[in-house]
């Protein structure tokens, strides 16, 4: 039996009285492009933070490539790449310095780090201003650099929290090409995104979380089949809305807005 890339058992996180994530049992097979969806405040970022060691779970277990994250954090972190919500950038370094720093921190030797950093900056179209501080990058450039840093050590599992947020179509295209080539080489990608069209196009499997609970998990076909008799034609957005329900303010107006 294949070892799952990511698996959790009864993963729970409480903030005081609030249960942000409750008994989540995820299973992501190796090589999957996995989308983790849900409305705002559903628990997506909290879950991805726990999966990458940025947040301690209140209860439950996490295994990455069959290794317990809580017991062997350093070993797991060697195998994974992360683009967290804040992008984890040191903004007073240049892009070149940052990639060199990250590569060496992941244990790559000097020559390998240098050649990969050059290649990544070139691929991400960030090579033309090597002395520019990250603080002076645009948001899209920072996203691209964060992704470059997350893959410099060739991780087996890549976690991305909203990688397409605030990114223009050109930069998004670059990111998509890179992610697809990683999948083609056997990596596993776990991403959260609000851009459902992109998730639908890229991901083979999806999980939906709502109010901290996992409400659906499976391939896109399985989710469509589970959505009802007309599910076969439904878009991911329609599936999501059907599963989590809507409380939209349709038909209501703000009294002062003419």
């Amino acid at each position: 039996m294949d070892v799952p890339a990511v698996s959790t058992e009864n993963l729970t996180r409480r903030f005081g009285q609030l249960v942000a994530v409750e008994n989540v049992n995820l299973r992501v097979s190796a090589g999957q492009f996995f989308g983790f969806l849900g409305p705002n405040g559903a628990g997506k970022s909290t879950t991805i933070k726990m999966l990458t060691g940025l947040l301690a779970p209140s209860a439950g277990t996490i295994e990455i490539l069959g290794v317990d994250l809580l017991e062997n954090a350093v070993e797991v972190k060697r195998q994974i790449g992360v683009v967290p919500e804040g992008m984890a950038l040191f903004t007073r370094l240049t892009g070149w310095e940052y990639l060199n720093f990250v590569g060496r921190m992941y244990g790559l030797d000097r020559a390998t780090t240098r050649s990969r950093a050059e290649e990544l900056l070139d691929f991400m179209q960030l090579a033309d201003q090597p002395k520019k501080l990250i603080a002076d990058y645009s948001h899209g450039m920072q996203k691209k650099l964060a992704l470059a840093a997350a893959v410099i050590h060739s991780p087996k599992v890549l976690f991305l929290d909203e990688p397409f947020e605030g990114v223009d179509a050109i930069a998004a295209g670059t990111l998509k090409i890179m992610l697809q080539s990683m999948i083609a080489r056997g990596a596993t990608i776990f991403l959260t995104s609000h851009v459902l069209e992109i998730v639908e196009r890229l991901c083979s499997h999806v999980a939906i979380i709502d109010k901290g609970r996992l409400v659906a998990q499976g391939s896109l076909e399985e989710l469509r089949a589970g959505a009802g008799s007309d599910g076969g034609k439904m878009t991911l957005e329609e599936i999501l809305l059907r599963i989590v329900g809507t409380t939209q303010s349709v038909g209501r107006e703000l009294s002062w807005l003419e």
């Binding site: 984890a88 007073r92 310095e97 990250v102 050059e118 033309d128 002395k131 520019k132 002076d136």
Partner: protein, 539 residues
Amino acid sequence: MAGMTRERIAAIALLRWHLFANTIRTTRGQLELISRIIVGLLLLAGGVGGAFGFGTAAWYFVSHGNTEWLALLLWPVFAFWQLFPIFSAAFSETADSSTLLRYPLSYSAYFLVRMAYGAFDPTSLMGGLWLMGIGIGTSLAAPHVLPIVALTLLTFALFNLVLSRTIFAWLERWLAQRKTREILGVLFIGAILCIQLVGPLLRHYEHGNRGQMLRLVAEIVPAERVLPPGLAAAAIARSLEGRIRTGFLYFSVLCGYSAAAILLLSVRVRQEYRGENLSEAGPRAETAPAGNLANSWDLPAFSGPAALVMEKELRYLSRSGPMLFTLIVPLFMLLIFRSNGAFPHQKPDLVFPAVAAYTLILLTNLIYNNFGGDGTGIQFYFASPVEFREIVAGKNLAHVLILLFEIVVAWAGVSWIYKPPSADVMAATLAAILFAAPVNLATGNLLSLYFPKRIEASAFGRQRASPTTVLASFGIQVLVMGTAALVLWLSHGPTYWTATVIFLVLAACSLTGYLLGLARVDYIALARRENLMRELMRA
């Protein structure tokens, strides 16, 4: 229009109040508040005590007919108000008012808010209290000039307040970019050379002809009278003599200085208001061949994550104007010691330990808020496959290297200006540093994890650690310096070799404590990671 401005300023005040009220919801916030109150009380004691002293002196001068001597009181207030915030960036803070630009705030309202943010810093409060003391003392001796004294001292206070804001704003502007930073560096070196001449010059007059000395004083006094503290003193003195018109003239020139300071500040604030960006980004560059890019450093004897973090820290520091400025302050202090004869020729050996101790105190700003400049980068440390103690060790290594560099510079400075310290003083000082540095590093590591505070590497007025950290670092310095003083007293003799031995024994203890603390860092960092990230990633 005025009503709208008033409402907006009230809204900003309410916003600040809500921010404050929200911070004290947590235990950490409550601790910070307690620390702030304690620090405030200490400052208040200094302010009130100083006010009493200044007031007594003012009363004495005026009641004995030496009204001109009020300048002797106003100059120290002026010097403190302007220099203290620069030499102690750790205690001075300017809030980032540029975030208010998104709101429909008029320029005048923005300027007022910018001024109000700086009006309540410790220096302004202490300076204000001291001026109040001078005002009360003068008025008690000559009650009939109370309105004139009050008006003059209020104007002088306004001038000081605006000038300190102006100096901060312009320094921040100059330190933000490499070219102006270099010019400022050259000016600083020029100032150092000039100050070098002051001491010998004064000694020449002091030991030479007394008549010459008096002539020099006679030449300085009129020059002093055209500068703000002298003008304020002269305005009060003339009024006391009944020469209201002359007094008014001096007062008018003082107002002119205030207006000029406001104008200079306004130039900067207007740029901020227009959305100025002080980044170092230049025009879009041509594609640089990869071969031109510098490798990461290859330092002998240093390898692994700790060395990488150390390199990153040193790069960060080299790009932070305020931090670089902090590092040259000890040298500046050395020159001040020299020019005011704080360490006469009979005791030059005490200069080196004094400057070394001062260097360590200045570095506490870095040491006690290790992660302050990392911002969102803190996430990387937790996501990377590296033990947290290695990261902390890398930071400590960078700080120790800076400390060593500073001590070498201090030694060179002392040797140049005074004479090389004797071998026993050198040994005792280094042994004392070996004891004090691990104590500070160990405490700094803990405080950095428990009370992190985001700092803005490029902003001069946003380098301050949390109030709890400031208070704790003060306590640690009292403890360390007290211990050092006790050791020196106990081992009193013709040389300092006994003290060196005692310091080395203490150093072994403090180093052991540091290593034990470092071993606990992983556990503490993991337990505190959410708090660390929340504080450091705050926008």
